[in-house]
Symmetry: C2
Subunit: 227 residues, 2 copies
Amino acid sequence: MKKAVVLLSGGLDSATTAAIAKSEGFELYAISFDYGQRHSRELKSAKAIAQSLGALDHLVISFDMTKIGGSALTDNNIDVPIGRDFAEIGQGIPVTYVPARNIIFLAFAVSYAERIGAGDIFIGISEVDYSGYPDCRREFVDAFEKTANLGTKAGTEDGVRFHIHTPLARLSKGQTIKKGLELGVDFSLTWSCYLGGQKPCGKCDSCKLRLAGFAQVGMKDPLEYVD
Amino acid sequence: MKKAVVLLSGGLDSATTAAIAKSEGFELYAISFDYGQRHSRELKSAKAIAQSLGALDHLVISFDMTKIGGSALTDNNIDVPIGRDFAEIGQGIPVTYVPARNIIFLAFAVSYAERIGAGDIFIGISEVDYSGYPDCRREFVDAFEKTANLGTKAGTEDGVRFHIHTPLARLSKGQTIKKGLELGVDFSLTWSCYLGGQKPCGKCDSCKLRLAGFAQVGMKDPLEYVD
């Protein structure tokens, strides 16, 4: 079996992406990041998802992005937007954008993949329910893939070429949930809320997109929300 | 004054690179990495160099690359090669190569630069005294620069475009030392040895390239070596 490194945040996109990788016959090597995020509770979900999908390893890399800050997810002085409608969510880059986060995440994923001899990396970004994050565009991933193949052993005799898979790139949140359900993903294990409280808030951009996705498939989100 | 983020390892290449950035009129924001490297003592040198050059800030990001391993610098079970001649050093990718290290380092540098509004990033890689590291080639840096400009706010209204400077790309170690001396770099503050002992070993690839560089300029290395 071929190995794949899967970026696992603990959300429903990455859980579905991992399930897709598994359905394509890959052995899963999960990687998650404890980066000082407000909702670090998502890492418990990542662990549960990795276990439920039979990942052979789950690497958690820790670093402190609060030292850099500049995002509502890594600076407690910046509020997470609450109660925005979808027109607002779709406008510009939100304050929950973390500077260069996916470049950092993919860089570690490439390092891990190179180490274990995996050429395939899966990341659950989507361009459709566009969250305004520049690092969620396939164009960015294409450029990163090229960079990874130039900045590693790839291309040398004992190197593997990297291919970065983005199976959700063209899927809406509803389509992602539908795909996940087909593949048996247990969405009760996932976490999306930016606030990271005991229960999801239902009002931050991430909760709103998630809830709209479940509404699209006519299903109730298995998570219990505040109120 | 324009801000520049400078990657500072503590070695003589990055010290000279920082001095070049300063000489070009940039305000220096240094970034270093405590990544589980065998020679973490280089971070003391990085701090001293940042201070000596009047850096306005020195950010140290910590993460544990020993979890990934696969390099003599991050896995104590892999020996650092000692006493190799230059023909051997020039052959292939050495075991001191750390998987995707410069991709990770540059990713954090971009995050920091985006946060402080700096478009200029300096890294002291050289293609001339080629150490066999694929992530020291300008071709890689060009691809990374493009990636950074796609995966961040760059290109949006409030984003800065990134330019990654590699002023040493075409310099030999001797030429780098000469340049550093012209700019007043205090090489007694720098550290290059991979072993990271009390004194540099003089026999690892990094020490050998350094000593050859000083020999090229007919100068004694100010560091005191073992024996």
